[in-house]
């Protein structure tokens, strides 16, 4: 199970699952563009406000997409019995869970990074902030999806865990959020960037084990 082959096929399965649930990449792109579109309405469209607030709101969109995407992933595994199959070999369910969340990040979170230049341009973000912003969204997104995965695994055995996931995940998101936002302003050579890296590494180190434990519990 620690051989690459099973993990690769876990990736393939998760990828086709994420892809099959809609029109592939179109959907996440549409989602981020859609959220970016909603924002100005809620702010009344004062231009100066927008360029200050816009990038922050995209962080919210990212957090949202991680929760909406992951809500069902583990619950479905539990209900259709696929979780039992993963568990039956003593190998590492943690790794499989990590692969699954990372795959979903790739399909549903990473597109924001690709769209950052476009949306940022529309929101009037200065060009020199684009690279830090993209880096921030990429790493922050990773953290969001990993902790979101933990929350989803924890609430997998609750009938409909939507808001519960949100409630569990939000506090876990905060550190990455703070440093991510700061980093976009302060640039890649700031301490915020180092802290963001630390957040990411920490999530990468801890979240898989937590997911694994939560999933074992859910299958009981």
């Amino acid at each position: 199970m620690t051989a690459p082959a099973p993990l690769l096929s876990a990736f393939r399965q998760a990828f086709s699952e994420a892809w099959a649930s809609g029109a592939g990449l179109l959907l996440p792109l549409g989602f981020f563009a859609g959220t970016a579109t909603l924002v100005p309405f809620t702010l009344g469209g004062e231009a100066d406000l927008l360029s200050r607030v816009g990038p922050g709101i995209l962080w919210l969109a990212l957090a949202l997409s991680s929760m909406v995407t992951l809500e069902r992933v583990f619950q479905a595994d539990l209900q259709d019995g696929a979780l039992d199959l993963w568990l039956q070999d003593t190998g590492s369910i943690s790794l499989v869970a990590a692969i699954k969340t990372l795959t979903h990040w790739l399909v549903s979170g990473f597109p924001l990074v690709l769209m950052t230049p476009l949306i940022g341009f529309m929101l009037g973000v200065p060009a020199e902030k684009m690279i830090p912003a993209m880096l921030g969204y990429a790493m922050g997104g990773l953290v969001f999806f990993l902790w979101g995965g933990v929350a989803a695994a924890l609430s997998a055995s609750v009938a409909r865990g939507g808001l519960l996931i949100a409630l569990i995940a939000l506090p876990l998101y905060v550190p990455a959020l703070i440093f991510g936002v700061q980093m976009v302003d302060a640039g890649v050579d700031s301490p915020s960037f180092l802290f963001l890296c630390a957040c990411t590494l920490f999530a990468l180190g801890v979240a898989p084990a937590a997911m694994g434990a939560a999933l074992r519990l859910a299958a009981e």
């Binding site: 029109a23 579109t37 009037g124």
Partner: protein, 255 residues
Amino acid sequence: MLSYLANPLRFMRFSRLAVPICFALGVLMIGWSLYNGLFIVPPDALQGGDLIRAMFTHVPSAWLSMGLYAALAGASFVWYIWRHELADVAARAIAPIGAGYTALCFITGSIWGQKGWGAGWHNLILGDSRLMSVLVMLFLFLGYIALRAALETRQKAARAAAILALVGIVNVPIIKVSVDMWQTTTIHQESSVLKIGGSEPREDDEGMNPVYLQQLLWGFGGHTLLASAMILMLMRAEVYTQQAERQLALKLEER
């Protein structure tokens, strides 16, 4: 005419001729309007000088995007009530073209606005209700396409998409009246060609200069024909695909 064409055979016969004719005429008319629009008509001081030349693409695509959405909803309605297969084929073909024209409207408008509305215009894109409602329509088209892509069987996809198209029709009047109604939330100009929004004519309102209007109408006619040609082409492709699928299924059945 429409009920005459509802028969797939007749449709295929008609469209085989119509596609090249519409295509050729459309390209000619667009070319004529672009030639005049880009090189002949004088620049307009009020509308950002040479930038007014974007109008000959912008306004036709703006009208077409709304028109195509209405057509999408109409075709969906016909399919939903009478289950004319061809209406669904049409709806399916209209969606990408409509999305394309909506995007074109947005892009040309942006180019226009870059100078016309001065520096920092891009901040406005997201704050302007007219512009936003065009974006919203783009997302309606995209949502329609995504929904169709997500459902496996054609019957299901057709019915679900039809429901969405009919529900989304609310947004068309909102786009249309957005300029006229909420002067405060947009700096987009009011309708000067067609006054449907119902705003009181202003004193200084002389309507559009005929020099521009003429080219505009050529462009509009041309784009309408071009869009029709593209839609008919997609519809033909879809009809052929369905036939091929049916034959393939028969072949598989025999084995």
